[in-house]
Symmetry: C3
Subunit: 269 residues, 3 copies
Amino acid sequence: MKRSGIITLMTDFGLADPYVAMMKGVILSINPRARLVDISHHIIAGSILQAAGVIQETFSFFPEGTVHVAVVDPGVGSDRRLIALEAGGHLFVGPDNGVFWPLIADYGENRVIHITERRYLLPHVTRTFHGRDVFAPIAAHLSLGVDPGQMGLEIKDTMELSLPKAHEREEMLHGQVVRVDNFGNLITNISHQELERFLKESKPFIHIGNLEIKDLNNIYSDVEKGEPLAFVNSSGMLEVAINLGRAADYVGIDPGEIVGAAVKVGRYE
Amino acid sequence: MKRSGIITLMTDFGLADPYVAMMKGVILSINPRARLVDISHHIIAGSILQAAGVIQETFSFFPEGTVHVAVVDPGVGSDRRLIALEAGGHLFVGPDNGVFWPLIADYGENRVIHITERRYLLPHVTRTFHGRDVFAPIAAHLSLGVDPGQMGLEIKDTMELSLPKAHEREEMLHGQVVRVDNFGNLITNISHQELERFLKESKPFIHIGNLEIKDLNNIYSDVEKGEPLAFVNSSGMLEVAINLGRAADYVGIDPGEIVGAAVKVGRYE
Amino acid sequence: MKRSGIITLMTDFGLADPYVAMMKGVILSINPRARLVDISHHIIAGSILQAAGVIQETFSFFPEGTVHVAVVDPGVGSDRRLIALEAGGHLFVGPDNGVFWPLIADYGENRVIHITERRYLLPHVTRTFHGRDVFAPIAAHLSLGVDPGQMGLEIKDTMELSLPKAHEREEMLHGQVVRVDNFGNLITNISHQELERFLKESKPFIHIGNLEIKDLNNIYSDVEKGEPLAFVNSSGMLEVAINLGRAADYVGIDPGEIVGAAVKVGRYE
């Protein structure tokens, strides 16, 4: 695979501490020509689930041959493995904790390497900052064209991630809010395919918390200011918003506590 | 116009979500050599007024031939137009919602193109994310040297923006706070030219909320710690601050609620 | 010294305002090939102490010949001097307010230049934004290979910084929390060398606020979820954390109010 020279970074480190900068310094020390792009450093601390969704949603907008680093790693320093994944024309580096599971599931033709070659890590590896000492140098070497196969042996037993899935029960489609975005919009795990399969010729009504929305709209300004709407968003998922308002505040969902917020879709003629 | 190869990005997307990264991925897929610089992604959600002020204040510090993308776009997906503006030796791309009006007003010699050529957009344009599907690819093509004139026809009826302007009434100069910065400093819409014209030989006294300040200072440390001061700031505008403190907290202005915060300037000998 | 072409930026400007972008625009106007990396723009406003610690901890992860700009500058516009420092194979630019003192103390072979040559600044220097008008252009020129000696005369009397130091008293090692990171972990000023010298063959017990921790651990997951632990962190300093929790919340330390938070280490067999 030809390399794009781009390395993306996703962590739960935030931007106040110098941790992300240290990773960038390490990368540029190995590959001075690497192009660095931040995906997000505000993943909910330790939320492998959120990180897995964000990288799955984002990576394909980058050129093929891009290296994506994911450091959401509550088990740092334990015996969890270091892996590199080749899938969909891209390379991914991170801990073997499920963060790349959706990609492995999506792309049958993939290759996962358990990285064990110490020469691709910093000479001194600390126990608590593998983002800097392990994942950054590996990403830099991958971006220079090193084949993941040179870094260790292929494995087939990567950690799986139990993803909340939408499902039908008692004539309703049940899903979950999986992310609250900057506008307070509620992004669900119900895909437009699932929605269409469930609805067939019917129209939907949608419940989230106290909000009840009839039918789907296309764009925010389809409804009056302050009115709720539901639509298939730019990533193909059902999303609930309030035009020029914050649905999250209305429903009482905090960006840090999205787990378990239920969405129910019913149908009528 | 020769291109600098730099593309700046200004949005109200925040940095937690992967939206800005998706835009960058799209840009780098089209122009792999583009240099990307963030102006701000923390514009108050939907505040065209704030976005218009920030881009006007900032663009000229970049080299000529830079492409500036502004995505503060509450009408996304509606029939508002997509425009490219050439003014002051720079290029600007965004929605026709007034965000570039101050630039159009400042630079008589300008050109506004209503972009309609679909080949400069992503093949699939969603209804709710034109930052990624429309503005990012247009910016990338402009940065490669495509002339805006190839993207559509010139228009003369761009959306205007009603800007709060300082004005004299009953021997007082009335203005507004238009931005609260990271230090809690209050940036007003009163320019040093307006101030000098109003004051002539007199000295000013300045009212914002409960603060009353006599005379102008030059730098923060001209006054004691905790004392308020007023000065012409680095962008040529009247600014009110508290040395080593937060004027915004004192006056009770929230960064998200700056609209209507009144400033009054009087004069004495 | 050969230049790496990289310029790092550390300020207390935050990322909402366009100030950092203006600095980047100025740099790229002078050196269009400069590689820009943000270290942090969320230094506590005016905290020279925090800024000094962050740059000391971070710079060496970048390639030699990198230029580091530090703009935490509560005395902007006063008669404090502008300095460039050459130390440890890197270049540093900022106000002479102590921010580089730890580096000067660490690297005996250093050179400090008091910058007075106006041709390396912007033509118009405002009184309140030296980050943009002074430090950005100086950094750009340094990154192009200009020798600091061309910018002014060497000085030996740079401003010193009074650093809180760990010390032994009544059989206890007394230190301070100097930073609270994104995970709420408490980073102290007790180095692993000081700790080892104090402990010799004994084991430590550690007090911070209401937390009492016996012995040192290696990694977060050495203790149960919600349990506190202490360890030598990836920068070689004693750190106190709660596995999958926020020690700062528990101890009642706010990231903005870290000064004076005491750490005490005792010993037992």
